[in-house]
């Protein structure tokens, strides 16, 4: 866990939005290709549309969240799906409580 990188990733409202949307994906995204959003995740286009920013920005934000370890990715066909890594998110909360 790299706390500084995680806190940087969390220092942006759009990225916080993404994390919150991914917490309850079926509340925030329309179904896609019959994918189980909770199990597999949501793809870049879904996030792009909801973010109301360019595909480029959405992809980069997802990448930042992923490099920080907060989300994980799975490629299925031409789509890349992202979902939260609940364990890492729990850990950073714990870290904040214990170490800061």
């Amino acid at each position: 866990m790299k706390p500084i990188e995680i806190f940087k990733a969390l220092s942006n409202e759009s990225r916080l939005d993404i994390l919150r949307w991914l917490k309850e994906p079926e509340q925030h995204f329309t179904p896609h290709e019959g994918i189980d959003m909770r199990e597999i995740g949501v793809c870049v286009s879904q996030v792009t549309e909801k973010l109301n920013m360019t595909q480029s920005t959405a992809s980069q934000y997802l990448s930042i969240l992923q490099r920080a370890g907060l989300i994980k990715t799975e490629r299925i066909g031409k789509f890349t799906y992202y979902k939260r890594d609940e364990e890492v998110i729990r850990q950073i909360g714990e870290y904040l409580k214990q170490e800061i």
Copy 2:
């Protein structure tokens, strides 16, 4: 509580150091003017020395932490003392756990 501002304040190793030092001030600072560090806090010069950066930088970092609400300040004579705001720190941990 302004989470984005707080996460930005936490996105810097030196500022995390300051917060951690302030958690157990008597472990990290030499006594100063007979002040109870745990009750009142530590002054800018103490932080400056331990940070090994300029007084300017130390003062600004303390100010960033304070504007984020993570520490609070008290002026006594010519010294300004800073100590943690444990309640806000607890809140951001709770926020991370609940809202993110």
